[in-house]
Amino acid sequence: AVTSTTATATTAAAGVEYGLGSLVSQLVVPMVDLFTQYPALKRFVAVAVSTAVREIIAPVVERSVTIACITSRVLVLKDFSLEADEARLVSAAHTMVKSLSGSLALVTCKEPLRQSLSSHLKALLLQQVNVEQNPSLAQLVEVAVAQVVQDNIEVACKFVEDSATEKAVHDLDETLSQTNRMRRAHREKTGQPLYDTSGFTLGRYPSMLPEELRPIAAGLSPAQLHLYDDFAGLRKRSEAAWTAVGAAPTNSK
């Protein structure tokens, strides 16, 4: 029932589209009184969500991706400096950068998106109904706005999060490609893996650490590799764990 409209098309010209169509198709239009009485108003749900997302997505994605890529690159290159198999390095870097960029994007966008969606939808709906003639409509608009936000905030946030993780993997691959090319070329030429020992020349550490705590040329232990796998699904696990210890999210307003 929800389709993109001329209103969406005109505001879309403002910026990158980010494939908003896929988001619009997932939106929920709640069965509230306002939409039952005025079905034509339903289309403004898509308009408001698209406008709100478009308003915040670019800076949120840009910032989250930049930070996540820098942090992941520095830490992965440090921890995998003596890892011969660059596929392991790349795999760890991907898992980490997805988790970091997605988490940052989500935590940054949630409140602004909620506020922006509320105010846009409210303004759009109030333009359409005659509150002066029928004051009870104001209340119906309030209820509709609150319900639309509640039903759609998660999917809208997910959209921003996914845009961030996708760009983060792409951007990180670009910065890692040179390192990986050098590693491959070195191996093909000499038959030996290329180690990055620059971190070992600076000070007492990491050389002074026992082998089980630092990168060693013999390769990383399964427990060490597992740490980077843990970035995947981190949020789901932590939500479950904290809910279990009694910190269930409250629906405070």
Binding site: L75, K110, G203, Y205, Q224, H226, L227, Y228, W242, P249
Partner: protein
Amino acid sequence: MAGHVAAPVLDAASESERDHVYKLVGALVNPDLREGALMELSKKRDSFPDLAPVLWNSFGTMSALLQEIIAIYPLLSPPALGAHASNRVCNALALLQCVASHQETRSLLLHAHIPLFLYPFLNTVSRTKPFEYLRLTSLGVIGALVKVDDTDVITFLLSTEIIPLCLRIMETGSELSKTVATFIIQKILLDEMGLNYICQTAERFYAVSAVLSNMIEALVEQPSVRLLKHIVRCYLRLSDNQRAREALKTCLPQQLRDGTFNNPALLKDDPTTKRWLAQLRGITDAQQMS
């Protein structure tokens, strides 16, 4: 002779201490052992001077700390952070603070942009204890970064949104959070680039001076010498900028001119703040005469 005998004993003790720390650091990569290890290690910050380089250089430790940080993002909004989750992440932050304090690791932490992962914590507004504690501990990490005068730190912070985050905490935080946030602003101001940055536009200057002035007002009701000290230092430093000095003529709070804080009981043990206060009055008085 006594020293000769004592030395090996001391070495042996520190060696076992070292092994214990290594064991705890190794446990951080294991999600099941991590919580206990975080708690133990956060107590070792003072007794084991090499903790920061060990944390930074050991495999996966910094990544494990980041996992602890982002794991509680979902509890920030809507606010659902309990005491347990807050304590756990604050132990991780205590270790980050250690890395931020250490000469060998400070710039590494900065170049990895890791402090930015704490900004979502500083951005929270819930007044419950777990959130207060989280904000205070996060400010502690930033405070550790600025404690040593390092222009790289200031350059980094100015490229981020730390100033508005601190200003909001200075308006609404607990006394302790306000003090640390004001300390951070003070350290930014003491840097030449930081002073220029804040005095560059009227908007920035008034954003800072309005918050400082509100805090002075609140201090009349609830005095705090350490907070007053940082605020006065901020004002004094602002007056080093010609345009800011001009503006302070009209916007320096009355309470700093009229001796409200000259209460001997309040500043008895703090001649420095007393002197700064007098200096500040001198500047504005001289301007009023000219």
